[in-house]
């Protein structure tokens, strides 16, 4: 297990180094100069040059890369070109929205998908199964931003139960903040829940056909008991994989939903920083997301081992 962990950690750090290099160079190749963007059409060329040197943009490339990575290792993400505050502060302000939104959506998705998937699998070809399959087909097909707009039209514009978007901040209290995240979380969760329910269903059906399930029934367990005690745990492996992927997707991919609900999350920060050529913010956000994805993949691997003892033995 230790050797396995070390190997995983080494590949994790190599991925990070490679990612940091690619991210840095790509942003360097993209045309556009942050200083001239900030100073506008009427600016005095001298003032633009002064700003460039103030931002450290006239230093040579390798020096800036090393400076950036050295900063990252110490937890210093640098100073945003446009906001002129530490990037870590900006990211911290956004993570407290994006991360809860992701977890909220993931929780909703799981809460909907598990019962639906289990119901469909246990009563295969029944009316319940057909309903779940039909509904999830629709859920997969509907784009989440369109669904988000429909939610806004119904619950914000017509019923006025919710704001059309925005985020009051956690300091406004727990419930107002959760309320602001509710429509976006539902919009994000529904397509994910549909995918997850379908995976849960097919994985469970596969497991129910296994020999050990017949043995369990032969031992005298009822259908329900066999399902809860033996089938569910075995069916979880592919489901965990999907949940891991969905977490990364939701964290990095909430950008469209963040735009529809004008939530100040990580996705919108990255998007805004790209258009303003706030290179240092773009790089830091992207490397953070890469880091999150790698760590989540790592955790999912560990979760497999917990769910399936065979995997643990094979690796040690």
């Amino acid at each position: 297990m230790t050797a396995y962990l070390l190997r995983r950690l080494l590949s994790l750090s190599l991925s990070l180094v490679a990612a940091s290099l690619v991210i840095f160079l790509v942003m360097e190749v993209v045309p556009g100069d942050p200083a001239s963007f900030m100073m506008g059409l009427n600016a005095d060329p001298q003032a633009v040059a002064a700003l460039r040197s103030q931002l450290g943009l006239d230093e040579p490339l390798p020096l800036r890369y090393i400076g950036w990575v050295a900063g990252l290792l110490q937890g210093d993400f640098g100073i945003s070109y446009t906001y002129r505050v530490p990037v870590s502060e900006l990211i911290a302000e956004r993570v407290v929205i994006s991360l809860p939104l992701t977890l909220y959506a993931l929780a909703l998705s799981t809460l909907i998908a598990f019962p639906a998937g289990i119901l469909a699998a246990s009563r295969r070809n029944s009316a319940a199964d057909l309903t779940v399959m039909g509904a999830t087909q629709l859920g997969v097909a509907i784009p989440n931003f369109w669904f988000a707009m429909i939610l806004v039209l119904i619950f914000a514009v017509n019923l006025r139960w919710f704001s059309a978007g925005g985020f009051p901040g956690w300091e406004a209290g727990f419930w107002p903040a959760i309320k602001a995240l509710t429509l976006p979380a539902i919009a994000l969760a529904l397509p994910q829940a549909s995918i997850l329910a379908r995976v849960m269903r097919s994985s469970l059906i596969d497991t129910l056909n296994e020999d050990f399930m017949r043995t369990a029934r032969a031992k005298g367990l009822s259908r329900g008991q066999a399902l809860w005690r033996h089938a569910l745990r075995n069916a979880l492996i592919p489901v965990l994989t999907i949940i891991g992927l969905q977490f990364s997707f939701l964290l990095a991919g909430g950008i469209i939903i963040e735009n529809v609900f004008y939530l100040p999350g990580l996705g919108r920060l990255a998007f805004q920083a790209i258009t303003q050529r706030d290179l240092i913010v773009v790089r830091s956000v992207v490397i953070l997301l890469v880091f999150a994805v790698i760590v989540v993949t790592f955790l999912v691997d560990l979760a497999y081992a917990a769910a399936d003892p065979r995997l643990r033995r094979r690796r040690s």
């Binding site: 100069d33 514009v157 704001s163 529809v260």
Partner: protein, 496 residues
């Protein structure tokens, strides 16, 4: 499993929604929430050109010696009055007394000297450094009097001092204004939730007429659909520069709202690269100007909002001359001019930045140019790319852009400006204008300048960008026109 889990989940979600649906009782409204498309990157108007900075802080948080009124007139602000010497070189400003910065410190002539010297210093990052170029020295006479000496007469000096880039800041706090703005205005920054909103609260120590609002919130919603929903849901009280003109009709039909339209300082032009053949030939440029049907672009791209212009000048300015007839839509004349210039089979690059006036307008212009036999090669670019490729590297034939700075006809005198005009006769007119202080003479020169660039067909002048938006029907005192990029909240109030 007898219970249907989906139904159970739906019911609990519904219950959750109902629980959240409770709204607090409405009190007398003393606050206002304004929608804006872009968030300011920082709140220091003296260190960047982003329009969103002035849209939040101009007149609300920071004040200058003079200021713009809603009609574009120059009004006194921190300077109570001024005297100009007969040679037009010395401006003596009498300052208001009893003015305090938001941190409680006193405002006096030293702050004026500091602010002006800082803006014009070497290494200054003031985006409009040219506004201060003619200042030779700034002298403190006494705490309430400051004397500014110019190196040459400048008829637009008081106008220059009204810009957001010329506001007065305190030496102790100037460096931190980006995040913690400290000005002399009637509102002070209370909160900034980055990416979401800026909140301003009333400053009780304000020296001037007290404002009627307790709180102003600027909320940043860039997506037009989201902006529409936010207005409809009552999350916003006003969106003075609404991003999607096509939605305004729906607001007009709703008695809760009022659609406001006014003029802006945005001259929208089809800029041409004057040094790149065949556009260096005035006949070709004239041909392009005659190929364009301005009204079709205003109707098609702006849903009817916009005023046709024939030169680079705002129609609401008293010195404006209507030269649209000179470059009227006339495809036959356009074809004849191209033949005369000996140009055929012409393909020009057309680079379009993101705003809809450019992207939608560009498609229409491309179709109109095709009618006279000019093909275009359209590239959509982001702003940062546009600045690099078009503005700096001058790697373009045609582009569409709105020049939103007030009174910016002076850019035609710059040698290295992106459309590369810099004609010596035009420069001479601008030099005379800078030296002229007599209003009649100034008007005459400004009109000569407008005619000169129209005669030379430097660019094709399309329309003056309208400032069209929507406000709650009970909200009063919002600027209709925008003589500068600002949301002046000092006179805004709710009708009983």
């Amino acid at each position: 499993m007898t219970k249907n889990p989906i139904a159970a989940t739906a019911v609990s979600l519904l219950a959750l929604g109902l629980a959240f649906g409770v709204t607090p009782a409405m009190a007398a409204k003393m606050d206002v929430t304004i929608g804006m498309q872009l968030e300011p990157p920082n709140l220091d108007p003296t260190g960047g050109a982003a329009a969103a900075i002035d849209e939040v802080v101009y007149a609300n948080v920071f004040e200058g010696l003079t200021r713009f009124g809603s009609d574009g007139a120059i009004l006194p602000a921190l300077a109570e009055s001024w005297e100009i010497s007969d040679d037009g070189l010395v401006y003596t400003f009498k300052l208001h007394t009893g003015v305090k910065f938001h941190d409680g410190s006193d405002f006096n002539a030293d702050d004026v000297k500091f602010s002006l010297d800082r803006a014009r210093a070497e290494g200054s990052t003031n985006a409009q450094k040219a506004l201060f170029a003619d200042i030779a020295s700034v002298d403190v006479v006494d705490p309430a009097t400051v004397k500014v000496t110019l190196s040459k007469p400048n008829g637009s000096f008081l106008f220059n001092m009204a810009w957001g880039d010329a506001v007065i800041v305190a030496p102790e706090t100037a460096a931190d204004n980006a995040a913690k703005p400290v000005g002399t205005g009637p509102f002070t920054l209370t909160e900034w939730v980055k990416g979401d909103r800026v909140e301003l609260g009333r400053y009780d120590g304000y020296w001037g007429t007290p404002v009627k609002l307790d709180k102003v919130t600027f909320k940043f919603i860039s997506d037009p659909t989201a902006a529409f929903a936010a207005m409809m849901a009552g999350d916003l009280d006003a969106y003075p520069a609404f991003p999607a003109p096509e939605n305004l009709v729906q607001f007009e039909a709703d008695p809760r709202f009022k659609v406001i339209t006014g003029s802006s300082e945005g001259e929208t032009i089809l800029a041409m690269n004057n040094k790149k053949p065949p556009l260096d030939n005035v006949k070709v440029r004239e041909a392009i100007a005659h190929a364009i049907d301005r009204q079709a672009i205003i109707d098609g791209a702006m849903f009817g909002y916009g005023t046709p212009i024939g030169t680079h000048f705002a129609p609401h300015n008293p010195a404006y001359v209507d030269l649209t007839a000179q470059s009227a839509y006339d495809p036959e004349k356009s074809k004849a001019l191209l033949a005369e210039a000996g140009v055929s089979d012409l393909t020009l690059s057309l680079k379009l930045p993101p705003p809809s006036y450019a992207r939608r307008g560009g498609e229409i212009i491309a179709a109109q140019l095709r009618e006279v036999g000019i093909n275009t090669d359209i590239t959509n670019v982001e702003w940062a790319q546009w600045l690099d490729d078009v503005f700096k590297a001058k790697n373009f034939d045609l582009t569409i852009v709105s020049h939103t700075e007030p009174m910016d006809i002076g850019i035609y005198a710059r040698d290295d400006y992106y459309f590369q005009y810099g004609d010596p006769d035009f420069k001479a007119i601008m030099a005379d204008l800078a030296n002229a202080t007599d209003p009649a003479k100034r008007t005459e020169l400004m009109q000569a300048a407008q005619k000169k660039i129209a005669d030379d067909y430097v660019n094709a002048y399309l329309f003056q960008l309208a400032r069209a938006g929507v406000i709650s029907a009970k909200l009063k005192g919002i600027w209709l026109n925008s003589p500068t990029q600002a949301n002046d909240m000092t006179g805004v109030y709710w009708e009983e």
